[in-house]
């Protein structure tokens, strides 16, 4: 089993509902966020193109944060989800330095925190909070090892990209373009 997320940049309207849902679901302290929306504008007026992306931890296959963690607090659990075990984290910041996506932050309580793909919901068979609230239904979450899952079908039929694949992390958030 390998969890992944596909996000349709053509359907995303950049409402930031995913961000608020995550903050509420995961008790993210004020001023912090585990996911965020980026507006990427390319070209020169009048030939401009806008891409909206809901971004978060890419739950990389070759996660540099897991490699660099001196205590093993950053780890990959079943389904390929990258998590931080708070009681093992010393707050050295090596994982934050090693993340090409800047997807981690230091929680006010001292440990490093990040997106967990809502592991507590996923183990109960629910969708992550961000996916479940998306008003345009532009996010797909599921098992890419299962060829018949919705996300596998989306990835089979749509053009896609990952962010900074040249960083060598093998990211698992796919953007449908």
């Amino acid at each position: 089993m390998r969890y992944a997320m596909a996000i349709d940049t053509k359907k995303c309207v950049g409402c930031s509902d995913c961000v608020v849902a995550c903050q509420t679901e995961n008790n993210v302290p004020e001023g912090f966020c585990r996911d965020w929306v980026t507006e990427s504008v390319s070209g020169t007026y009048p030939q401009v193109e806008i891409e909206l992306r809901s971004e978060r931890c890419n739950h990389c296959e070759d996660a540099p944060c897991v490699r660099c963690c001196p205590t093993g607090a950053s780890q990959i659990v079943d389904g390929g989800i990258v998590i931080v075990e708070h009681d093992e984290c010393i707050g050295c910041g090596a994982c934050i330095e090693s993340c090409p996506y800047d997807a981690r932050y230091v929680h006010p309580e001292g440990y490093v925190d990040k997106c967990t793909f809502c592991l507590h919901r996923v183990t109960e068979g629910l969708q992550p909070a961000c996916v479940s609230v998306c008003p345009t239904k532009c996010m797909y979450f599921g098992d890419i090892d299962d060829p018949n899952s919705e996300i596998s079908n989306m990835l089979k039929t749509r053009k896609q990209k990952t962010l900074a694949p040249e960083a060598g992390t093998n990211p698992h958030i796919f953007y449908l373009i």
């Binding site: 507006e39 001196p70 010393i90 962010l163 060598g168």
Partner: protein, 316 residues
């Protein structure tokens, strides 16, 4: 043209608008780690070559600084940890994949060995100490034991100080997300710089002209290697991928150009090298000046690399 903005209002402390998580404690720690490694490496070599009588400053006086430097470095590191009460977790795991893990263990090996080394010269620091006084006689026995086994300490120190010195660079170069750090030259470069600052400290602590001359020569060679490695690193980045190319421009025209070239290249390497050459060909140059400049260059190099590296990243 491409422009990217966060429209969900992201403003994470120490991460946005650009990463600035690691500050002076990390730079200081990397400098002191390299310095201690350098001092102890030379002290161990002197003992292994049985030249203790000739290079007293290296084996006896400069080595007092090593455990102090490691101690202060460790305190700086602890100060930087945000979840500090869990710091003991570092020493219940060994993760060879993580440079910080094996580096912390190397430090934990070098620190007590450096203390034992200093202890083995305790009687020479305080020749008039009265050892017959009660429980002190136990210390007497321990000190005699470490004096007898000083060569064993030296054999442990040679590989472990090289590991410690190179670790200070590998710690940064292992982060593939930061293109300025992510090059394989950084480990050898920081090791060379650490050895050079170690030699400079020995020059400062030495009272013998012959010893200062010897370590000036060693320092000169190390400065040459360091300059070569810096040029090699910048060449590699300029010929590398887009992100590495942009990272090198921070030192070649960008924000850190002046501080890098003035404090590291000119004042920290070129100028002390010229002074040392003058001294070796017979001019009278106070040995303290090139040595202090090398130390200044070493500490500035760590500060610039730590700060500048965090500005570099992958863009997508």
């Amino acid at each position: 043209m491409k422009e990217e903005i966060f429209i969900s209002g992201r403003n994470l402390p120490h991460i946005d608008p650009h990463l600035e998580l690691w500050h002076w404690p990390i730079s200081l720690y990397l400098f002191l780690g390299g310095l201690a490694a350098g001092i102890l490496f030379f002290a161990a070599l002197v003992v292994l070559f049985r030249k203790e009588d000739k290079y007293i400053g290296a084996v006896k006086y400069a080595t007092i600084i090593a455990p102090i430097a490691i101690g202060v470095g460790l305190l700086a590191l602890l100060y930087d940890l945000s979840h500090v009460w869990y710091a003991w977790r570092l020493y219940v795991t060994i993760r060879l994949e993580s440079p910080m893990s094996w580096g912390a263990w190397t430090l934990m090996l070098v620190m007590p060995v450096s203390m034992l080394w200093t202890l083995s010269y305790f009687k020479e620091y305080f020749p008039k100490w009265n050892w017959d006084f009660g429980f002190l006689s136990y210390f007497d026995w321990i000190i005699d034991f470490v004096i007898y086994h000083r060569r064993v300490l030296a054999w442990i120190l040679v590989p472990s100080t090289i590991l410690l010195g190179i670790y200070t660079g590998i710690l940064l170069s292992a982060f593939n997300a930061r293109p300025l750090w992510n090059n394989s030259i950084l480990g050898p470069l920081f090791l060379t710089s650490g050895l050079s600052t170690g030699a400079a400290t020995i020059i400062l602590m030495s009272k013998s002209h012959a010893e200062r001359r010897m370590f000036s020569m060693i320092d000169l060679v190390l400065i040459g290697i360091e300059l070569f490695l810096i040029i090699h690193m910048l060449m590699g980045m300029l010929a590398g991928s887009q992100v590495q190319h942009e990272a090198s421009l921070l030192l070649l025209g960008g924000e850190f150009t002046v501080s890098f070239w003035v404090f590291v290249i000119i004042l920290g390497l070129a100028f002390p090298a010229i002074l040392e050459i003058f001294e070796l060909v017979g001019f009278k140059v106070p040995a303290i000046i090139p040595a202090l400049l090398v130390l200044l260059g070493g500490i500035m190099f760590r500060f610039i690399m730590v700060e500048a590296g965090q500005l570099t990243r992958y863009l997508y």
